[in-house]
Symmetry: C2
Subunit: 216 residues, 2 copies
């Protein structure tokens, strides 16, 4: 028998946390200070994530320095101007009205890196992305825990990874996987903002499931 | 104020789930049937994961068919034989003794795919991997929920993704992100097996953290 048994109550609680987790942007962060102990707690649970071959290939840069944040925000502005042009006219207007990051508004930013191993890693041969994927699992642990701490987290992906690496003086072999903005919030939205704004619709889960293979 | 407030008790519960989550292999699965409703529940929480631009780019192939599992197990055997040769003599012996998958022992397998969008995706321009990363967040949600259901999950990465795609008749643009083995267990190990066997050591978290950038 499994050593530790969880209960129906625990299942419902976890479901509730997942349901209420949101991507938080600059229009929702408050200036309330985030203690170092809270950041430590997030990194502790990140390190509980699964990692391929127990390689734990994650590194975290905790950023509180305003000048560093400003440099990253400038990088976002450059990339976001380019990104906007990818969309058709109507969506471009909607895009321009969206607040997509909270780099300067969030008291703490964390850049999460994948650090490749110098040695072969068990399980990372046929699917070499497994190292990065382990780091993503760590980010998802941080995200769920931050929600449970009633702290907002937003993942900013509209960034040139090389520029961010330069700003943070990262070793060349490191890969930027995630750039996170963390802080207390005005509110957690009931639904993803892009769902409410009808940018995209929620897919019915039955449309996502196949049995024993895709139909020919 | 945030609408839904979680408590210290909730935080400790989530930490407990993360702490007790394990990668489960064939030497720990039992033959107890896994109900369709349980699989539905895992896919429901997968769909609660964050996704770039609310793209929800995940698809799930639920596999119960023995012939299909056998084909995937054969693919594992081929890849594992190659993988073993990557390690030095001493580690190679240790590697050979490890049970690294539970494809046939687990009542249910789920292949998780990334399905690229036909249109531009908000937030997936500067970092194109964001679509795959969203799928990994979904897998981590499934993993935590399965632990709370006292069900084991193992992620098999020693597979040729193209071979698995062929076996499952997957469209060419789909990318295999994860192959999961799911079932009830004899036990959940207290620690990752690779930690207990001293294949690798747990890294002290303070060694993983930098402040405002890497030291020059």
């Amino acid at each position: 028998m499994p050593n530790k048994q969880f209960t129906l109550e625990d299942q419902l609680m976890l479901q509730d946390i997942m349901q209420h987790r949101r991507d938080v942007r600059g229009n929702n962060f408050t200036q309330q200070a985030v203690a170092d102990s809270v950041i430590d707690q997030l990194i502790q649970v990140a390190a509980l994530a699964p990692s391929v071959g127990f390689s734990q290939p994650w590194e975290f840069v905790v950023i509180r320095d305003d000048k560093t944040k400003q440099q990253v925000a400038d990088c976002f502005a450059d990339e976001n101007a380019k990104a906007q042009t990818l969309f058709s006219n109507e969506k471009q207007k909607q895009y321009a009205a969206l607040k997509l990051e909270g780099i300067k508004e969030a008291p703490v930013n964390i850049a999460v890196f994948y650090k490749p191993s110098d040695e072969p890693v068990l399980g990372q041969n046929s699917m070499i992305e497994m190292g990065e994927y382990s780091v993503v699992c760590a980010v998802q642990n941080m995200w769920l825990m931050s929600r449970t701490l009633n702290i907002g987290l937003g993942w900013v992906s509209i960034l040139n990874p090389d520029t961010v690496k330069n700003i943070l003086n990262a070793p060349s072999e490191h890969k930027l996987v995630a750039y996170l903005c963390i802080g207390y919030v005005e509110q957690f939205l009931d639904k993803p903002e892009l769902e409410t704004l009808k940018w995209a619709e929620r897919k019915p889960t039955q449309s996502l499931v196949h049995h024993n293979g895709f139909k020919a």
